[in-house]
Structure formats: structure tokens, C-alpha cells
């Protein structure tokens, strides 16, 4: 479809016949030789006032979150809330089933006591915390995601091999395609291009 849209976009037709995304862009992507070049380009870009940046690399790079100005992930807060919910649920479960719904004395033990409930409290805390961690991670990363506009970059495959890509996104208030291309080229990009949304 993308190819067909592109052909239609190029035809001398009235604007209302063209694809609705025509003229919309994801941003400008440039590619760099090494992680150090990429980190330097990110720092220069932020110093120049760009704020909507995204990096695509074949492996995690130390310090890239700080360079991009990313804050801490809220995942930890999701996990603690889920963990405490599991803890509360376990206490209620042990107390309600043992002492309220079906009170039965076993081996002379109290109907409800913390000693035998701790393993259940521990397990349910861990279980819900793990659910929170996995599902929260997927949600925060917007996964599963089958399409991303960055795939339209002509040298995208490099990001999974040996190239280090930097995108200046179109939603950046300072964004201008020509300036961004010039900027990335000056920062050491081998190939900078405007990428469709």
C-alpha cells in the first residue's frame, strides 16, 4: 500500500484525491558509524534545541537514556502497586476462606494466623508484581506493534546490524526537514533523509 500511495502522491492530481497521509512525515533520520558518533550527535542536537529525538541501535548503549533526556520509567511504581495488591488479596483470601467462609480447625491451629499465610502472601505479591512488570512493560512500550513509520527509512535494516540511527521527529517544535537534514549531515550522518509517516 505504501508504494501505491507514493505513486498516487506523485501524480499531478487534485489534492483531495491523494492519500490522506500525503505530506505527513515521521521526521528525518540519519545514520552514524559508531555508538560514540551517535551519542555525540544526540548531545549536539539537544544543545541545538531539538527535543523530540529517538535513537535506533542494534544493541543497548550505556548512557543513551541520559543523552536523550529520558526520565525514569514508571514501571517500578506499577510493580509496587500490583505487588501490594497481591499482598492484600492474599491476606483477605487466607482470612476469609479460613476464618469466615469455611471455619475448620486443622491440627489445633488458629483459623487465621500470619505464620502459615506468609507463603501465600509472598507468592501472590510476586505473582501480581510479575504480571504488572510484564504487562506494564508491554503497555509502556506500546507492544505488540506491527508497524512503525521509521521502517520507511531506506537504510532501516542497518539499525538491526551495524548502523546507529538518530531520528529528529516531525512533532519537534523546531522541526524543519531541510534544516534537520543539514544538521544531521553536519553531525556526521552518512545518509539523512525525510521519512514518511
Amino acid at each position: 500500500m505504501a508504494t501505491l500511495d507514493r505513486i498516487i502522491d506523485r501524480l499531478p492530481l487534485p489534492a483531495f484525491l491523494k492519500h490522506e497521509d500525503a505530506g505527513k512525515h515521521y521526521g528525518v533520520i540519519g545514520d552514524f558509524d559508531t555508538p560514540e558518533d551517535l551519542l555525540r550527535a544526540i548531545r549536539t542536537a539537544r544543545a541545538a534545541g531539538y527535543s523530540k529525538l529517538e535513537a535506533y541501535t542494534p544493541f543497548p548503549i550505556h548512557g543513551i537514556d541520559e543523552a536523550l533526556g529520558e526520565g525514569r520509567s514508571p514501571l517500578g511504581k506499577i510493580v509496587i502497586v500490583c505487588g501490594l495488591a497481591g499482598l492484600t488479596l492474599a491476606i483477605l483470601l487466607q482470612w476469609w476462606t479460613g476464618a469466615i467462609d469455611y471455619p475448620l480447625v486443622v491440627a489445633g491451629k488458629p483459623l487465621f494466623a500470619f505464620e502459615p499465610s506468609v507463603p501465600i502472601m509472598f507468592e501472590l505479591s510476586v505473582l501480581l508484581a510479575a504480571f504488572g512488570a510484564v504487562l506494564g512493560m508491554l503497555a509502556l512500550n506500546k507492544l505488540p506493534q506491527y508497524y512503525h513509520p521509521a521502517f520507511n527509512y531506506s537504510k532501516w535494516a542497518g539499525a538491526t546490524n551495524d548502523r546507529f540511527l538518530l531520528a529528529i521527529e516531525a512533532k519537534d517544535p523546531r522541526f524543519s526537514a531541510e534544516e534537520a537534514i543539514t544538521f544531521l549531515n553536519a553531525a556526521g550522518s552518512r545518509h539523512s533523509e525525510l521519512v514518511e509517516a
Binding site: 550505556h62 517500578g76 489445633g108
Partner: protein, 402 residues
């Protein structure tokens, strides 16, 4: 060549103690040790019944730190860990103190009769103890405990010799040799550490038994070691040493260990308690009954709250582990809690109706701690505070928590 902002840190840092600073540190440890041994001698003369348990607790407290250090050094070698290289020399110096515990065990050897009632003649008439006497007798008690400490000392001494030689020649062969000593070392350490815990602490109440006991002792030791590392690294930092080499990332990782071992201590201690609570067998439950009696209940509650709940929730957030003030406070607090844990294991046997702190406890801590401190400190005379020859040192300093 890749250049990161950490590259220059190594050269700029202070990792040698000047002669004057070293001497004043040595004098401080020597003073504490001397005052402690005088107090211990006075305590022995004044109150023999109070002296031996107090000395045993102090001995176990510092021994557990030294064994914890030996364990951690071995684990760093076995895992090929890079992040910990900057703090490894401090660990190794605590490990190096292990051989002096062979000497420090001698007073306990003279106190067997005052400490362990299985050594009394009446034990032969006790139907349960009678069957344990082939294990619990003075001869085998001495052979086992001196034997374990001697064997562990061989491992500690070999690991120390290799790291020291690597300072001079930077040769990889010392890294490989340390790995070879560490593999059997961890096994010997766990078996030997369990024997020490069974003999020195568990047999104080010889009717009682718990297979978890050795693990709890070693976990407490590992926790106390991490706490000691944090306290000593932060003290050196305050005096202007290792300010760049041990950076925020390393403190963060030490904080993670402190947190994890607090959890693991609670896990093992609770496992022991829950199974005994559930079984409710007379010979097992009595041990906890004694520790819920009188003011011992306060110490039991203090351990649940202070050794687990408060540090668990306080050390959980990342920001807390990266805050030197918070981390230092909890390291000191958990050392105190580890002491209280051992005190709570040993003392109810001698003070069944409630705890009674004595000045002899402090004297014994000063004596054993000062002696261990002297050995710890002696390794830094004109010698670096970090393993300068370790091939992973540079990697350790560039380390970042994701």
C-alpha cells in the same frame, strides 16, 4: 579509540593512604583492640559466666563478616564480575583476617564447659543427648572448629596472595588461579560455615536442631560483609580516598546487595520459624518459646521490624540506594541488627527471662573487632586500596546501571 568521561578518573583518584593517615588509622584500631582485650581480661576475672557468652557473640559477629568476605571474593572470581573490582580489595582485606580467628577461637575452647551443657557429665544420662555425644564431645568439637577455620584460612591466604601478586605484575594467570581456588572454595565454605554454625551456636541448646541454621548464619555474614563494605568505603570517601573509583554506580550495586540479602535473611529465618511453628514439636518449638519469653519478645519483634520490614521498604526505591546518607545509615543499622540477631540466638540460653546487656559485650566487640581491624588495615600500608593489577579494573570504572 573510544573515549568516555570515565577514562581520566583512575589517574585522578586517591587510592594510596599516605604514611601519616595509615599510622593514625593503625593507632586507632590498636587502641580499640588494646582497650578491648583489657576489658575482656577484666570481664573474665569479674564474671566468668557472663564473659564466655559475650565473647562468643563478638567472635561470631566478626567471624561471619570475614567468612562473608571470603564467600563474596570467591563469587566475584567465579562469575568473572567486573563491576565489583573497585570494591574487591576492601573485601579481600576483610577476608584476609580469617586466619586470626583460629587464634581467637582459643578462649572459646577454654569456655566449652561454661557454654555448652552437652560437655557436662549429666549429658550421658539424658536420653536424647546420649545419642548425640559421638558428635558433641570436646575432642571432636575442637577438631571440627579449628579444622574448618584452618582450611578456610588456606583458601583466604591463597586468594590474597594471588591478588597481591597481580598488583605488581598485572598477569592474567592470577585471575585464573583465583578462579581455580574459588570453585572448591565455595563448597568448602558452605559446608564449613554450616559446621561452625551448628557447633558454636546451635549446640548451645543441644536438644534443638534446624537444618536451616547454617544458611541463616552464612546469609547474616554475607549481609554484614556488604554493610561493612559500604561503611568502610563511605568512610574512606569522606576522608578523600576512592572518591572516583567507587562511584555512584558501585554504591547502587552494593545497595542492591544489601537489599537482596535483607530479603534472603528474612526468607531463611522465616522458613525456619514457620516450619517449626507448624510442626509444633516440643523439642523444636522450645527454642522459639524461650525467645518469646519476657523481654526477649522485644528483641524478636525488633528483628522482624528492624532486620526486615524497615530496611526492606526503605531500600526498595532506586533513589535510596543511590543516596549515600541513606545507604550508609542502613548499612550501619543492619550491622547492629546482625549483632542483635546473633545475640538473640546465643543469649537466651544464659538469660532465659530477658535480655541483659553487659559492658563485657562491648569489651568483647572491641577486642575481636579491633584485632580484625588491625589485620584489615595492615594491608593498606604503602599498598593500594584497589586491585590495581586487575585486568577488569578499567571496565569496573566505566560500569553503568541501566
Amino acid at each position: 579509540m573510544a573515549h568516555t568521561h570515565h577514562d581520566h578518573a583512575h589517574k585522578a583518584d586517591n587510592y594510596f593512604l599516605p604514611a601519616a593517615a595509615w599510622t593514625s588509622g593503625r593507632n586507632a584500631f590498636a587502641f580499640v583492640a588494646l582497650a578491648g582485650w583489657l576489658g575482656v581480661a577484666a570481664g573474665f576475672i569479674a564474671d566468668r559466666k557472663e564473659f564466655f557468652p559475650a565473647y562468643l557473640v563478638a567472635f561470631l559477629f566478626f567471624l561471619s563478616i570475614s567468612i562473608g568476605a571470603t564467600f563474596f571474593v570467591m563469587v566475584q572470581h567465579l562469575t568473572g564480575s567486573a563491576w565489583s573490582v573497585t570494591v574487591r580489595r576492601l573485601m579481600e582485606s576483610l577476608m584476609r583476617a580469617l586466619p586470626i580467628f583460629v587464634l581467637l577461637l582459643i578462649p572459646i575452647a577454654f569456655g566449652i564447659h561454661d557454654l555448652y551443657h552437652w560437655s557436662h557429665v549429666e549429658a550421658a544420662n539424658d536420653p536424647i543427648l546420649k545419642q548425640k555425644l559421638s558428635y558433641l564431645n570436646e575432642k571432636w568439637f575442637l577438631i571440627r572448629n579449628f579444622g574448618v577455620l584452618l582450611v578456610l584460612s588456606v583458601f583466604a591466604t591463597r586468594l590474597w596472595a594471588h591478588t597481591r601478586r597481580q598488583d605488581e605484575n598485572g598477569s592474567l594467570k592470577h585471575t585464573f588461579a583465583a578462579e581455580k581456588w574459588s570453585a572448591p572454595g565455595v563448597i568448602v565454605l558452605f559446608l564449613g560455615g554450616s559446621v561452625l554454625a551448628f557447633d558454636l551456636i546451635m549446640s548451645l541448646d543441644p536438644h534443638w536442631f534446624s537444618t536451616m541454621f547454617g544458611v541463616i548464619f552464612l546469609t547474616g555474614g554475607a549481609l554484614a560483609l556488604i554493610a561493612t563494605l559500604i561503611v568502610s568505603a563511605l568512610s574512606l570517601r569522606k576522608s578523600g580516598y576512592l572518591t572516583h573509583t567507587i562511584n555512584e554506580e558501585h554504591y547502587h550495586d552494593l545497595g542492591k546487595w544489601l537489599f537482596a540479602l535483607t530479603v534472603f535473611w528474612a526468607y531463611t529465618s522465616f522458613s525456619q520459624y514457620m516450619l517449626i511453628w507448624y510442626g509444633n514439636l516440643p523439642e523444636e518449638i522450645m527454642w522459639f518459646e524461650h525467645r518469646l519469653e519476657g523481654s526477649w519478645l522485644v528483641i524478636s519483634a525488633l528483628l522482624v521490624v528492624g532486620h526486615f520490614l524497615v530496611p526492606f521498604f526503605s531500600l526498595m526505591p532506586r533513589a535510596m540506594k543511590r543516596n549515600h546518607g541513606v545507604l550508609g545509615f542502613f548499612a550501619g543499622w543492619l550491622l547492629f541488627m546482625h549483632f542483635m540477631d546473633l545475640y538473640w540466638q546465643v543469649m537466651p540460653v544464659f538469660h532465659p527471662h530477658g535480655f541483659a546487656f553487659s559492658w563485657i559485650n562491648l569489651a568483647a566487640l572491641a577486642a575481636v573487632g579491633g584485632s580484625m581491624g588491625l589485620v584489615f588495615w595492615s594491608g593498606f600500608r604503602e599498598k593500594p586500596l584497589i586491585p590495581v593489577g586487575d585486568p577488569r579494573l578499567k571496565q569496573a570504572m566505566a560500569f553503568h546501571n541501566v
